[in-house]
């Protein structure tokens, strides 16, 4: 097992491994997404307060979960890269940033679209919305910082440190709806007692959450493969691969 991970950390082996995993991840992601969309748009009943507008939740909540999840993965990979100087960890960290930024944007935008009919406002400066906006700025800062430093290894160290410092924002986002009086509603799924959500709404929500996780896995592997080609462009195996293509 350990030797498998050891091999996986070598960029050349990872490139091939990711290439073989991608089609399977693609099929699984599509299956979960279609099932989630079917359950969410056709099977789940309308909400007794919000009517059909709540169906935005099946995009909004998984996107928001992913914005936090990807940040933690990015900071974790960055920390591993800092401590053990593993190139692959650095690659995963920087490959995650644009994906995380896009999911954060999607969470904020769908939240605004949902907020308009339900709250009467596209945007309010409450704790949940503001801390999520700060998350978007953190992602954008990390991407910009990486672009500003020529040397890839130095850039990876810099963004890892920034990402780790930014982790402080993650619990703030998560608990913002409990710590402060927010217009944003409290948690209905991750409560310690039974989730206060109808099972017919919970199923599509979880299906979409799995689909989004798989989607992130797919895109991060695709980005990592590009990054590996870029960094290893002068090695023998990349030259061989290019001459065959």
């Amino acid at each position: 097992m350990l030797s498998f991970f050891h091999r996986l950390a070598s960029p050349k082996y990872f490139y091939g491994f990711a290439g073989r995993a991608l089609p399977w991840l693609g099929i699984a992601c599509l299956a979960f997404m279609l099932a989630g969309l079917y359950q969410g748009l056709l099977v789940a009943p309308a909400d007794y307060q919000q009517g059909d507008s709540y169906r935005i939740m099946f995009i909004h909540v998984p996107a928001a979960w992913m914005s936090l999840f990807i940040y933690v993965v990015m900071a974790g990979a960055g920390a591993v890269g800092l401590v053990w100087r593993i190139k692959l960890a650095e690659i995963i960290a920087i490959s995650s940033a644009p994906i995380g930024a896009s999911f954060t944007f999607l969470a904020l935008a769908t939240g605004a679209i949902w907020g308009k009919p339900m709250w009467g406002a596209w945007w309010v400066w409450d704790a949940r919305l503001t801390s999520e906006l700060i998350l978007l700025f953190l992602y954008l800062g990390i991407i910009a910082l990486h672009g500003a430093i020529e040397d890839k290894r130095t850039a990876a160290r810099a963004i890892s440190i920034l990402a780790i410092v930014g982790v402080v924002n993650i619990p703030i986002i998560h608990y913002s709806v409990e710590w402060w009086n927010t217009l944003h509603q409290g948690p209905t799924v991750t409560k310690f007692d039974a989730p206060s959500i109808d099972i017919r709404m919970l199923v599509p929500l979880l299906l979409m959450a799995v689909a989004f996780k798989l989607f992130y896995a797919i895109v991060v592997l695709m980005r990592a493969r590009c990054e590996i080609l870029q960094r290893e462009r002068n090695t023998g195996w990349v030259r061989e691969l290019v001459s065959k293509a």
Partner: protein, 56 residues
């Protein structure tokens, strides 16, 4: 349920479908970005290989 009711979403159709449309745009953009980058990179590397073969 007929198609009109489905698209209307109880009067919230514009909100619901714009949210789902936006999600589609974000997902497609996420897939296109590495695909285009990969093609550009492979072209560039192939060019370099050709050049190095032509120059003695």
């Amino acid at each position: 349920m007929n198609l009109h009711d489905f698209l209307d979403m109880g009067g919230y159709g514009a909100y619901v479908w714009s949210a789902y449309g936006l999600a589609l745009v974000v997902l497609v953009a996420n897939l296109l970005s590495p695909l285009l980058q990969r093609r550009r990179l492979l072209d560039e590397l192939a060019q370099r290989t050709k050049r190095s073969r032509n120059t003695p």
